[in-house]
């Protein structure tokens, strides 16, 4: 709710000498900057709804307020600009002038100028030396234009409209002489009225006086309406005077109503607090949480009933306190959203594009410092979306898209995190071009490029030095931006991800922790050390009997993999990865595994003991430990022990789950030839051995032979409610003895279960690749391959003393894609899923 500034300041003027003028200026600055932010937004909205009187009224009031106050405080330069702007706005509001691009530009410029001067006042306590004669001149010129047009423009406007057809705005707009306070009051009463069951007469609430009188039960709404009608008909007297004349109130009652204090509203129930104070409070509460944790631990070791009861009380109060302090720092993301329409307008105008901004979830809350921290990255992504994403109107037309592009920004909470998605419906990113660019800049090597998934390639845009924009504009395309975006987001513990479909658009997703203060984490022990795994990365904890683990954990050539719900996950032992020498703690007859996820990939970590989950306060680790790159910080636990927080993405890179950025960059720099691959070994039907890099395999599955169905001349299976193409791997390779498979293979296939790999053909298509026999997994280092003997094969090498053909999976998948395309059809409800073992 806007505050009637001028009025309050004027009241303050009476006792100015007792007041701290600095305080007034400070408050003026703060409120004005809030007003200006709203102004930006309203101007942009106004461009799409130039006839919106309510909007115009609101803009006018804001500028009027600024003008009034700065005149009072002696900021003449500011006053001159605001005054010129106000005059122009009043013409717009009266309908004497239609909003044009030119006017919108000048008005926005005015807002910028006001903002610049306000900033100057804030830092130097004076208006500064910058003059704006041209701006004032242009504001005045545009007013002049209105005068010429006045005759035709004035005829068709608001005056003809009845209060019923323009219920909200006409009376307010008519009340030229009313103070801003009166108008804001009017608005307030309107909403009050709207809520009540009584059929309200909107015009009744036109003024503060009317509202106050109605509220006091002195006057019926109908009487005020009558008075207003008289005013409209040309009665120049003020509302109070008319009402007295009509005999519905006494002069005394009018005076009482006029001096009526505003009822306390939401704004007055809130106070402004120094952010630093909150910061300090938060730190103290964090420490308190730690102390409480220790105390809980100590209390649990004794049998003191009194102590235990007290500690439990403390526990509860501390938790509540923490929750509440955190809440004080939460801010709706709309604070950020409100600043965006202006950016969209300026950037798109600059580039001659038409862009419509949609925001969703503005009331989603986020810690203030985090909100502050994502401001620049989000602005940058938005600029990028408009600059590189959305095409020029003509081009969009050619592509059959609406001329106006849409950028949709949505915020939501999920999984204890704050998510923000910025999606455009523009040209999308050409993964092939990103790849070529990355190759040409040496950011990745050829073999690496081959094993990268579509998504990994797209996310290369976050690497420094990679910009796919053909030309550098002043908006973006200098190849520094996206890197900075990612760095800034990661700095606050968040993640940035990009997804794009060529010609369809690009979506950048940010995932941010709700607060920096504490995070829930799972604590585990390996050797003698305690480690913390952030809950956000946690998928599942599994304990298996040593005996059973044989079946689930396979050690092939020293590489451990873990079968988890039909998936094969890389398995790492924390003890081995960290080279822990201490003896194993805990019961070793049970194998404990923690399944974690990062960037959509999962892997398992074997630990000695799974302890518990705790709220931990992340403390940064000394830069001297940075080179180890496996820890993201340290935390003091409830029992006073220190735990290292595991950097799960770093472990993933180590496990080869995701191609590491550092590894890529470094290998490129050194021109390293050796390639490390984890291979899935297959036995061909002809006795030959084949190998597929594991990263191309999403899952291993077995299907009942009966699950094989036919559709459009192709084999298909139902898998997870989708109909997927089932192709035999050997059919995709150039095969010399195909006959063998077709006769014998099919005969046996009728009885045996089908071994199959779930593979991703492209970003949107998944297929099932039938394979003859799965032999196991091997980790190999390849520096040289024997040349391939047939299409679909990259080359051959010796694995486990057998000659093995390494498949060229990109080629195989390309063939699969070319041969057939089964659209992802949803299997209707009630359909049984295939039997999956």
């Amino acid at each position: 709710m806007e505050k009637p500034y001028g009025r309050r300041i004027a009241a303050a003027a009476l006792s100015l000498w007792e007041l701290d003028v600095d305080e007034i200026v400070k408050e003026f600055l703060q409120e004005s900057s809030e007003n200006l932010d709203r102004l930006d937004q309203e101007f942009v909205r106004l461009e799409s709804e130039p006839e919106n009187r309510e909007l115009l009224g609101s803009i006018f009031r804001t500028v009027h307020t600024i003008k009034g106050t700065c005149g009072f405080l002696g900021f003449t330069k500011l006053e001159a600009i605001a005054h010129a702007g106000e005059n122009l706005l009043s013409l717009l509001r009266a309908g004497d002038l239609k909003l044009t691009d030119e006017i919108a530009d000048v008005l926005l410029e005015m807002a910028d100028a006001i903002r610049a001067i306000l900033k100057e006042i804030q830092t130097n306590e004076a208006e500064g030396t910058q003059e704006y004669p041209e701006l004032v001149q242009r504001l005045k010129e545009l007013q002049g234009k209105a005068a010429e047009k006045k005759a035709p423009a004035a005829s068709g406007d608001g005056k003809a409209a009845t209060p019923d057809s323009l219920p909200q705005t006409t009376p307010a707009a008519r009340q030229e002489s009313a103070s801003p306070e009166q108008r804001s009051e009017a608005k307030e009463i309107q909403s009050e009225k709207k809520g009540s069951s009584r059929k309200s007469t909107p015009a009744v609430v036109a003024s503060r006086l009317g509202g106050a009188l109605v509220r006091r039960g002195r006057v019926r709404a109908e009487d005020i309406l009558r008075a207003l009608e008289l005013q409209e008909a040309g009665d120049r007297r003020r509302l109070g005077e008319i009402l007295i004349e009509l005999g519905v109130v006494t002069a005394q009652e009018v005076n009482d109503a006029l001096s009526d204090k505003k009822p306390p509203d939401a704004a007055e129930a809130a106070i402004r607090v120094d952010v630093n104070l909150l910061e300090k409070q938060m730190n103290l509460v964090s420490e308190l949480v730690l102390l409480r944790n220790r105390l809980l631990q100590i209390a649990s070791e004794t049998n003191e009933r009194n102590l235990n009861a007290t500690v439990h009380g403390l526990n509860y109060v501390t938790s509540e306190l923490r929750k509440n302090v955190m809440k004080t720092r939460m801010q709706p993301v709309s604070q950020l959203f409100d600043k965006l329409p202006r950016i969209v307008r300026d950037v798109s105008k600059d580039l001659g594009k038409k862009v419509h901004l949609e925001t969703q979830g503005g009331n989603t809350e986020l810690d203030k410092t985090l909100l502050e921290a994502i401001k620049d990255p989000v602005t940058h992504i938005l600029r990028n979306s408009i600059d590189h994403g959305v095409e020029q109107p003509e081009k969009r037309k050619q592509c059959g898209k609406p001329e106006t592009g849409t950028v949709r920004i949505s915020a939501f909470h999920e999984g204890g995190n704050f998510h923000l998605e910025i999606a455009d419906d523009g040209a999308g990113i050409d993964a092939e071009r990103v790849k070529q660019k990355a190759l040409s800049k040496g950011l990745i090597t050829g073999p690496q490029a081959e094993k990268m998934t579509q998504s990994e390639i797209l996310n290369l845009v976050f690497l420094p030095g990679l910009s796919t924009a053909e030309k550098v504009t002043n908006v973006s395309g200098r190849g520094v931006g996206m890197d900075v975006v990612k760095t800034n987001i990661e700095k606050i513990g968040g993640k940035a991800k990009l997804d794009s479909t060529k010609t369809k658009g690009t979506t950048v997703s940010l995932e941010i922790p709700l607060t920096l203060a504490t995070i829930p984490a799972l604590t585990v022990i390996s050797g003698k050390s305690v480690f913390a795994i952030p809950q956000a990365a946690l998928v599942e904890m599994i304990a298996v009997d040593e005996a059973d683990s044989q079946k689930l954990i396979e050690m092939i050539d020293g590489v451990a993999v873990f079968r988890f719900r039909g998936t094969v996950l890389p398995l790492m032992s924390l003890r081995e990865e960290l080279k822990l020498k201490e003896a194993q703690t805990g019961d070793d007859s049970i194998v404990k595994l923690v399944v974690v996820r990062t960037e959509g990939r999962q892997f398992a970590l074997r630990v000695d003991v799974i302890r518990n989950t705790e709220e931990i306060v992340i403390k940064p680790l000394d830069k001297r430990f940075k080179s180890i790159a496996l820890y993201s910080g340290a935390a003091v636990l409830g029992d006073g022990r220190v735990a290292l927080i595991l950097d799960i993405p770093a472990f993933a890179r180590r496990a080869g789950v995701i191609a590491g950025r550092e590894a890529r960059a470094e290998q490129a720099a050194e021109g390293q030839k050796k390639e490390r691959l984890t291979l899935l070994l297959l036995g061909g039907s002809d006795g030959e051995r084949l190998a597929i890099p594991l990263e191309f395999v999403q899952r291993l599955e077995e299907f009942d032979p009966a699950a094989r169905e036919r559709m459009g001349g192709l084999d298909v299976v139902q898998y997870r409610k989708e109909i997927l193409r089932l192709a035999h791997l050997e059919d995709l390779l150039e095969n010399r003895r195909t006959a063998k498979r077709t006769e014998e293979g099919l005969a046996s296939a009728a009885k045996e279960k089908i071994s199959a790999l779930v593979v991703r053909v492209d970003a949107s298509t998944t297929a099932i690749l039938e394979v003859p026999k799965i032999l196991g997994i091997a980790k190999v280092e390849i520096d040289k391959l024997a040349p391939p003997s047939r299409a679909g094969v990259r080359g051959s090498l010796v694995v486990q003393e057998r000659v093995t053909e390494l498949l060229d999976m990109p080629a195989v998948l390309a063939k699969l894609r070319a041969e057939s395309h089964v659209p992802g059809v949803l299997v209707g409800a009630g359909t049984e899923q295939p039997h999956v073992s």
């Binding site: 420490e287 730690l290 420094p464 760095t487 050797g527 003698k528 050390s529 305690v530 960290l578 080279k579 822990l580 403390k619 680790l621 000394d622 001297r624 430990f625 940075k626 080179s627 180890i628 790159a629 496996l630 820890y631 340290a634 003091v636 006073g640 022990r641 220190v642 735990a643 290292l644 550092e662 590894a663 960059a665 470094e666 720099a669």
Partner: protein
């Protein structure tokens, strides 16, 4: 004659070292160090000092002094540095000595390179030598000591900020 200065002294393998008292935050009995796996021996780990996490530097390893000669439990000296408090692992804490700066001499060439690099002054006392350390230099680990044997790939610095 200039005013005398006070130095907190400690022993490393029987050799007496000192740091200016103003650089010393506190002296601690030995307490549990949480090791950081894969970190070099010069960094035995971190400690929890009243909720604050401090990096511990094994001063003997840092100065290249043989680890032998330590009898019993080592002690800790928390020093104030430009990077905040740091914890030094020493053999034994000695007295606070008042030293006349006139007695200060430049470290001689005969000192071991590792020690000389971080020694500000050498001071001949009646019974023994006192080596005054430059704490800021002590906490800057030489490249080879700072790099971890566990990390296979040297990290690429992400440009200056």
């Amino acid at each position: 004659m200039s005013a005398s200065q006070r130095y907190s002294t400690f022993l490393l393998n029987g050799i007496c070292f000192g740091v200016h008292v103003e650089k010393v935050q506190e002296v601690l009995e030995f307490q549990d160090i949480t090791p950081i796996p894969l970190s070099p021996p010069v960094l035995p780990g971190i400690i929890n000092l009243r909720g604050q996490i401090l990096t511990t530097i094994d001063l003997k390893t840092r100065l290249g002094i043989s680890a032998a000669g330590a009898n019993g439990q080592q002690m800790m000296m928390v020093i104030r540095t430009s990077e905040g408090p740091m914890n030094l692992l020493v053999d034994k804490i000695g007295a606070v000595l008042e030293v006349d700066p006139d007695l200060f001499e430049k470290p001689t060439e005969t000192l071991k390179a590792g020690v000389r690099a971080v020694t500000m002054h050498v001071c001949k006392l009646e019974s023994h030598l006192l080596l005054v350390l430059d704490t800021e230099k002590v906490i800057q680990l030489p490249a080879e000591a700072g790099s971890s044997p566990g990390s296979e790939q040297p990290r690429i610095e992400q440009g200056a900020r």
